[in-house]
């Protein structure tokens, strides 16, 4: 195909960055340039199906981390190498918050400006950055700070993600930080920055025997496959290989496992429909794009027990007859990515991935992919598009992933937490697993407790536990404070009042109460919380994270933010009731007519806050 470019030439360093990703694989057979028109011969179709377009995000990451921004020349060069039209490459790059398309200081601090960090005991990062450095987005001698959505360190609060470009380049997620500790850290060379990877699992000290999914967290060496194996690791895979794919799925069915990603779909049904699909190849994707505000469970597993995810995905691949697995990790989790990548390569070395796994004739590879700052990429079909090197716009369903998913092939996709449940099921057997929890919500669930509780952290409890019991496990409300409300399920969830602590945290329990478990978020707000600002922030979050594809969500999230701003500022159009009626109409169209779950749930928390009388005076 002919591609026309419009920028200048790429620098040697920019070319090197692109080549570091693409030269590993087959390059186009020829790129002939004649002025600004290049003939790219790939022997692949125009739309890159089956081509190398899926290297677009990895290559954009390579340019971003080495150069600090993506210039026109670099973008053109990358486009030519992959045979992707420059306009499309630009469309992709401009979709993701972690890519900069204008010259940017080499150090960028993403200061968490989301509800959990604002509500945490520590200082609000965006506020202290603003005090120290002034308004965001300006060049402060090679450093720039910008506001960030939730960074998944809610149990500690005061989180910041630092991207430093150049050689060496580094990304690090720090928490808790304050203005001076962050400034001290930034003065050091980046290889001396110290990651704080403390995993707050308070039950470890008090009730370790209750831990099933978290049993190895804080116990094993996350870098060592031997340590993992000496704690029961790879026994479930051995059992899976012994009993065969159909029986693995039967165990999952007996266990009545439901997906933990939010939709609570029966895992066995999903696996079975992929396994039975005659179209080849099959793929299996682990969704580790955890971005729901208030959620940090998947990060803790990735950082502390990475092999369990690799093993869980391998079993899923085996059961569904998949040739290849992908783990898509949000770009804000550098340590999680590092440890997962290490786990994949260790497993490969030990014959637990690759060809003829455990000598049993099963072949399976795993590729790790990095997100680039887009909450919507956690929607499964948007995630496929992102892996394929496209804008993370959700697809319309049907077709469902099991019919036509990644690269339009039958694809299984599960959240991190769902996959590690599979290990437990194969260890104790499906029927025994089904005895845990309630009859309709089996097993245990991970809960992310943050905000005004004495012991914030990651908790594991059988389904059916009362909300109040879980709060007690976390040491109750911060001393001297009174409970105002709890955000259940994340920004896409809903607020519940102090009189609802008897809600049973099971799929049927929350359904009866008209709320959702979502991603297991339990964010606690005390009497001092400024709820107006909290709900406004939630509305802004969805406004910023909407992909913009469909009208109800693209314009609806904008109008919702404007409407809440008016209510909070007391500048309503007409009466407050008029505004609430309008809110109802906007949220209805978003719920009924948006393409995906983002738009469909974006107004939930806001509406629940008004129902509880929490907001707007």
């Amino acid at each position: 195909m002919d591609l026309r470019t419009s920028g200048g030439p790429a620098s040697a360093k920019e070319k090197e960055a692109v080549d570091s990703v693409i030269s590993k694989l087959e390059k186009p057979s020829s790129v002939e340039t004649n002025g600004k028109i290049a003939h790219v011969s790939h022997g692949i179709p125009f739309d890159n199906k089956g081509g190398q377009r899926d290297l677009l995000l990895p290559a954009l990451h390579a340019i971003q981390e080495r150069i600090g921004w993506i210039s026109h020349g670099a973008l053109d060069y990358l486009s030519l190498q992959l045979g992707v039209p420059p306009a499309e490459t630009y469309g992709v790059a401009s979709f993701y918050a972690m890519f900069s398309l204008e010259e940017t200081p080499s150090t960028v601090i993403h200061a968490c400006d989301d509800i959990a960090c604002r509500a945490a005991k520590n200082a609000d990062p965006a506020a202290f950055m603003n005090d120290k450095y002034g308004e965001p987005n300006s060049d402060l001698n090679g450093l720039m700070w910008i506001r960030s959505p939730c960074l998944g360190r809610c149990e500690e609060g005061s989180a910041a993600l630092v991207q430093r470009a150049g050689e060496p380049h580094r990304r690090i997620l720090l928490a808790p930080v304050d203005a001076s500790s962050l400034a001290d850290e930034m003065r050091k060379p980046s290889d001396q920055w110290t990651s704080t990877d403390s995993a707050r699992v308070p039950q470890r000290g008090t009730d370790a025997s209750a831990l099933r999914l978290l049993k190895r967290v804080g116990v094993v060496d996350p870098l060592s496959i031997d340590s993992y194996r000496s704690h029961g690791g790879y026994e479930p895979l051995r059992r899976a290989l012994d009993i065969g794919p159909e029986n693995v799925i039967r165990e999952i069915k007996d266990a009545k496992l439901m997906g933990r990603g939010g939709a609570a779909f029966p895992t066995a049904v999903k696996w079975e429909s992929v396994a039975r699909n005659s179209v080849r190849p099959h793929y299996f994707v682990c969704n580790a794009d955890e971005s729901e505000p208030g959620t940090f469970k998947d990060r803790v597993i990735m950082e502390q027990d990475p092999f369990s995810i690799v093993e869980g995905l391998t079993i899923a691949g085996f059961a569904t007859g998949s040739e290849k697995g992908y783990i898509y990790i949000r770009g804000e989790y550098p340590l999680g990515e590092e440890r997962i990548s290490n786990a994949v390569s260790m497993a490969m070395k030990k014959g637990l991935l690759g060809r003829n796994i455990m000598g049993r004739g099963f072949d399976f590879d795993i590729e790790v992919r990095r997100g680039a700052g887009a909450y919507i990429a956690g929607e499964e079909t948007a995630l496929f598009n992102s892996i394929e090197g496209k804008r993370a716009e959700p697809r319309n369903k049907p077709p469902f992933p099991a019919q036509a998913g990644l690269f339009n092939k039958p694809t299984g996709v599960n959240n991190v937490e769902t996959l590690i449940n599979v290990l437990e099921i194969l260890s104790i057997g499906g029927p025994d697993f089904a005895q845990i929890g309630t009859p309709d919500s089996t097993g245990t669930r991970l809960f992310c407790l943050s905000g005004s509780v004495n012991n914030p952290g990651l908790y594991e409890a059988p389904f059916g536990i009362k909300l109040g019991e879980l709060l007690d496990m976390a040491g109750g409300i911060t001393a001297g404070k009174a409970l105002k409300t709890i955000l259940l399920g994340g920004a896409a969830g809903s607020f519940v009042g102090p009189d609802q602590l008897d809600i049973r945290l099971s799929f049927e329990g929350v359904r009866a109460a008209g709320v959702t478990l979502g991603s297991g978020v339990i964010m606690v707000f005390d009497q001092d919380a400024d709820m107006d600002q909290v709900i406004l922030r939630i509305a802004q979050f969805f406004r910023e994270e909407s992909c913009g594809q469909c009208v109800p969500c693209r314009v609806g999230t904008q109008r919702l933010e404007e409407l809440l701003t008016r209510i909070v500022n007391g500048t309503t159009m007409g009466s407050r009731n008029d505004e609430l009626a309008l809110l109802g109409k906007v949220s209805t169209v978003m719920r009924e007519s948006s393409i995906c779950g983002l738009g469909q749930t974006a107004a939930n928390a806001v509406e629940s806050a008004f129902k509880l009388g929490l907001a707007g005076g």
């Binding site: 026109h72 401009s94 406004r543 469909c550 009208v551 404007e562 109409k585 719920r591 009924e592």
Partner: protein, 309 residues
């Protein structure tokens, strides 16, 4: 003897449409089925010669058993489906979708059908407050994804910006752009395979753009004008029409349309020559024409200046 001859036998599927049982060929969309039964469904991003992207969410209908409404343009009918196209739920959704659009996009020059639908649903474009003033060209595109400018809520944000006039063939007024993706599809695999434009940015700042927003003459654009032909809201407009409208001389009532065949090559594209005041003001091609499906190349579309000259 059937070798090489595809005999398409489409089974018939029974569904219930607004309370009436009807049969339609398997594989039809809900929209096709409705239209063939005389049911009017408003559409915006849908065009029969392009792949449905179902982003405008105007054609939503109710399907029994579905939690949400369903886009009729892309959803295929299934045996036993119970569909309602006329419920309160459906018309509330359509009204609100149109109001969300009209509050953010200039929809003052749209097709007669779209105009009629806006009237039918009594669209109030100022429902969310007075509309914001235009921004500078290119400003919306410069916003980093996830970092928007917050307003105080008393004015409704819009996509308004000045018209881009950077070539002699057509102009781009993104104030009128509803992001239906039609132009991107026509420029891409659905017709032209030129890929000069794409969706850039995210959320409310999503917009149609060339790479780094370069002007069209620097982009890959080949001026086939197919993007203009498929645009439903005149965000893309031929330069002649734009210029005539600027001086209030564009008058469709004075125009005649003559159908002919393009003389430039042997493909046989049908042309519709739009003439006003003894001057060719626009060239289109019928959507239902076997050869063009509404698409032309630069010669057929723009190669008429020598006549006017």
């Amino acid at each position: 003897m059937n070798d090489g001859i595809a005999v398409a036998i489409r089974r018939s599927v029974k569904i219930t449409l607004d309370g009436k049982e009807v049969a339609a060929p398997e594989g039809s969309s809900i929209l096709q089925t409705c239209r063939s039964h005389g049911i009017d469904i408003p559409t915006l991003c849908y065009l029969e010669n392009l792949t449905p992207v179902n982003t405008c969410r105007l054609c939503m209908v109710e399907v029994e058993g579905s939690r949400t409404l369903v886009p009729s343009c892309s959803r295929k009918i299934e045996s036993g489906m119970v569909i309602r196209t006329d419920s309160q739920r459906v018309s509330d959704s359509r009204k609100m979708v149109l109001e969300l659009l009209a509050s953010s996009v200039d929809m003052s020059i749209v097709s007669p059908e779209l105009g009629a639908w806006m009237e039918r649903y009594q669209v109030d474009k100022e429902r969310f407050g007075p509309l914001a003033a235009p921004s500078q060209i290119g400003d919306r595109g410069k916003t980093r994804a996830g970092h928007h400018h917050k307003n105080d809520g008393t004015i409704a944000a819009t996509v308004a910006e000045p018209t881009r006039v950077d070539n002699n063939q057509y102009v781009r007024d993104y104030s009128r752009c509803v992001l239906c993706y039609r132009c991107v599809e026509a420029c891409g695999t659905d017709a032209q395979n030129t890929f000069a434009i794409a969706l850039g940015g995210r959320g409310f700042e999503a917009h149609i753009t060339t790479e780094f927003d370069v002007a069209l003459p620097e982009s890959a654009c080949v001026y086939c004008g197919n993007c203009v032909a498929v645009c439903p809201t005149n965000a893309l407009m031929f330069k002649i029409e734009h210029d005539l409208r600027q001086v209030s001389k564009w008058d469709e009532s004075k125009q005649t349309i003559t159908r002919t065949i393009c003389p430039y090559c042997g493909v046989g594209c049908n042309l519709e020559i739009h003439e006003q005041d003894n001057r060719i003001v626009k060239v289109t091609s019928p959507l239902d024409h076997d050869v063009t499906h509404g698409m032309l190349c630069v010669k057929g579309r723009f190669g008429f200046e020598f006549i006017n000259g």
